[in-house]
Symmetry: D2
Subunit: 328 residues, 4 copies
């Protein structure tokens, strides 16, 4: 199929649309600022889309893609990887089934260290585009990892943000975009949240960690040991649940491939996102009405991430005042 | 000495003042609202004082005690226990000697669970007075453990708060005082802080944890395993320092009693505070000028704790607006 | 290629041998007792072989396969998965380069719990064949996981066993094969070893853990958090090395696919074994002389595993007397 | 009481025996080889005795002291500190009450690093006497920490050793006594044990760790975090019990001084031994018949420790043959 290799996305979208056996969907894994035009081009031509996060570099673009996907009845997946881990799905189900009672407090953090020094000045490719406003958008740290954190919390707890107050920092001198941020959150149900994301936290690799405290219990999940879930029911001992060992809700169990203690990691989480996407795609192609609730993150979640970034920037720019979600 | 047992502190202060071989100092370990009158009574009669935290239940009282101690040239110790741990002292010295470079971010948390349900209604004595505004003052959680957290951060980092924004919560219905709080902090040197204290965090015993990130490295200390200090220098492997094993600065080494791996805990930390206090007291009695820098927390630190509580309440009451430290 | 699907291995070996574009190699993932005849059939017809461990159910068969592979100059891979982890390769290189000095003591354990009760009597398929001497051979636990443990130690340390003393246990009543075993080992260089493997150790998933103590330092690796390696150099702080973060020897670095903190697990370790095997295969097919040292476990290692099982059984059967390796 | 300070123990025993208000008991914390004559002197004069372990440097002396204490109806305490920790007592009670079912396997280790190099040649006082056969007896490592390990296992599990096989090593060249040892154990109830003690295990402080696996569950206790107990019941999640938080058996609860998460360490464990001893002493002085079961380790346990050392040496000297307990 060498004749179906294209040297730009516009041509690809056009040509593939004319094929008899056209591609089923397109995967967009390019720098942030190109997500929008590429996704738009394919959604307009009727192709389902899988896109990296952050979905776009501004709110308007994200809303447009959301509308477009809805209008053309297309599947759109935004690859928030961490929601693909079985124990994250287990956490979500435990909360959904009331095992933690009324949620009171959410602690989220996503700590990395790779930008602790100005490596973008020394030719590191990843660092160069991510700290360049022209390519990464208005935010580096919040856009790159803050959105993962926001989505994982939202996915696990189902809580909706009512208002937030953010402080966005650039600790490395001369850097053009942020490398650290803190957030205080009030949710609609009176729960509170405290978030931190950082790319200058020396000693941390990819430290996404979510803790949720409710009136009946708590859970804690750490991305670097993803197969385990700390769980503490009220007045009972602290427990550690293991993937493949302890009984999970079907939504998590479904994605357990290996016996207990055989580590599954990042690739498998990614694969779970894709496999859920494909399941929906197959069902859709069979002519089923697949509704609008999916077990993979969609452009709707991508839009929510962009709103989170947008609101955080507005808050931080105003001297860390509180902003309501609707002020987006 | 049965004739020197008194049934109230006023009598005790008066009578002891007349003794030839009078007591050296008094220790105040009564409920919060009584600290002020007792401390005042003894300071006025010329006695050195050791007092539990929070020093008082309002700012004015704390300032008065601070002035009184200064005026009468008396030693005053406020027992912020956690600054007595050798590895906390080690952390302080590492930062002081620049091993972490410029401090960027401080994460502090103090998570307990004991008030997750309304046990004050079931006769728990500790819970009853601590959640009673008449006995505990304007705050329960921030006053009781938030002040420990604030002091430990301040002790370790030497950072001064420029402004803060607080959200103080009462999650258990019907409770009269707070049981949870979040804080965003801006320090004078442009570092940022994020604090959380809670008494409703199910699964946590006495989870005081401090993390400090600088331009050259980071440290992490957890109160429940106090003999260890996680340390990560830039571009070097993550390390765990052990009390009694790895070389410490003299300020920490001084308080190491046992060989490595022989746990020292809360009692020993307390004892370290007292032993530092007594060292100063002995030196003072020998006629030395002992200056105004001590290796134990003083009424000045106690006053700072009260200011922290006060500012947090003001911020939270105003809808979590930012307040400057000077607005105290 | 439906005409090249065969319903038994004998036919497959014969027919493929006659093909022009014959298969490159065969993968054997059937129950233990069938490894030998299948491997033999393909090795005799000149096919390279990848085989699950334990290589065979007795020593004679293993030796025969080893000879056969040598004679026919064929690649033979025995999939001891755990040697595929990057941090295991790093451990091996550290020891090889003398970072631990003279090895003194090796502690190895492989603790599982899945056979703590007689689940073979309740229809568990895995349990049924593994505890059946007709299908699993003379040993269940030592053959299944003891061999992994032996190989990982041998791979990391390069030590050769001089003699061993074993106690093999069947704790679950009525079970026909072993479910637990302990070993004391003397190596040729005067180092000592202590091994334990168990399938009845309640609370353990797949707890392979290796610790090596030398005159200059120590390392510790745990299979359930495979991306990290605990390392302690003499008189230096304890360190935790992270895959993707800390500099590794090229032999380990080569297999790092993802940035630090993005977990890679069991599938990736397996893939590393295969990718090393394929690299050698490609080189061989290019006409290169590839020597007899490979970065994947071979039938030689498979044979060594069978010898370990054999010697352990002999020792245990004799009342846990010491046996020399040569007594195999 | 300056006239009751003595410059040798013989005089002290004699003089105190003549006093009207004589001392209640004597504490022996001198080098190993002096325990026997001192203990003997005081037991003969009718004094209760508290003695450091190992009780003596040979079996005959230990047996003599045991007989003497029995004959003179005196309390004798041997300070095996680790049995003083509340969570060790909890472990003992859990096993005693059948929560682990039939014990199958015991893993014990006591890993230190302080003798990894010949520091006795550089004037380290502790190292000098401990590696000197004239002062420490026939064993350094097994006598010093192996006995602790043996006692903690025996205290927790109640298991009696039927036979053992030991390998005792001296890894540091020129050292006169052992610095490492491994043990395989068969208990009278068909359970098995695997022990390791070392003073050359670089990276370890005071790593006493006990794991017990039974037919219904398992426990794990680590001396460096003594306030916690890992517990896993069959088919239930892994749990971590906390001192002061989770309900303990009265025998453990009795020694909990502080709220959950307030660390208690080595001093407190020691204090618990003494407080149990004193409780018995007071009861005895009140004229009660106090039987022969005590909640503190006695000279009987001290004797058992000496037998363990003795048997291990015999086994190791014979080329690590198995010895029955009775062959002592």
């Amino acid at each position: 199929c060498k004749d179906r290799l294209y040297n730009n996305y516009i041509k690809m979208a056009e040509m593939e649309a004319r094929e008899k056996e056209k591609i089923d969907f397109v995967v967009i894994v390019t720098p942030n600022h190109t997500h929008y035009p590429i996704a738009k081009a394919f959604l307009e031509k009727g192709f389902h889309v899988v896109c990296e996060k952050p979905l776009t570099v501004n709110l308007q673009e994200a809303e447009e893609l959301n509308e477009l996907a809805k209008k053309n009845q297309l599947l759109s997946c935004v690859t928030y990887t961490y929601s693909g881990y079985p124990m994250v799905k287990q956490a979500r189900e435990m909360i959904h089934h009331g095992e933690l009672g009324q949620i009171r407090m959410v602690l989220a953090e996503y700590a990395q260290e790779w930008l602790a020094t100005p490596i973008e000045k020394k030719g590191n490719k990843q660092a160069t585009w991510r700290t360049n406003p022209g390519l990464a958008g208005k935010s580096n740290c919040v856009g790159d990892i803050g959105t993962h954190m926001e989505h994982t919390v939202s996915y696990i707890t189902g809580l909706e943000i009512e208002s937030l107050c953010a402080q966005i920092d650039t600790f490395v001198r001369g850097r053009k975009l942020d490398d650290n941020a803190e957030f205080m959150v009030k949710y609609k149900n009176e729960a509170r949240g405290l978030y931190w994301c950082s790319q200058v936290a020396i000693g941390n690799n990819n430290g996404l960690k979510i803790r949720v405290y409710g009136s009946k219990g708590s859970i804690e999940w750490k991305q670097e040991s993803p197969d385990y879930l700390k769980y503490c029911p009220l007045n009972k001992p602290v427990q550690y649940l293991s993937k493949g060992r302890d009984p999970l809700y079907p939504e998590g169990e479904k994605f357990v491939r290996l016996p207990a203690g055989h580590p599954e990691g990042f690739y498998e989480a990614f694969a779970n996102i894709y496999s859920s996407f494909l399941e929906s795609l197959i069902s859709l192609k069979k002519g089923n009405d697949i509704g609008d609730e999916f077990d993979f993150p969609t452009v709707k979640n991508g839009l929510q991430g962009i709103k989170f970034v947008n609101l955080a920037i507005n808050s931080s720019d105003s001297g860390s005042k509180w902003f309501k979600w609707e002020e987006n």
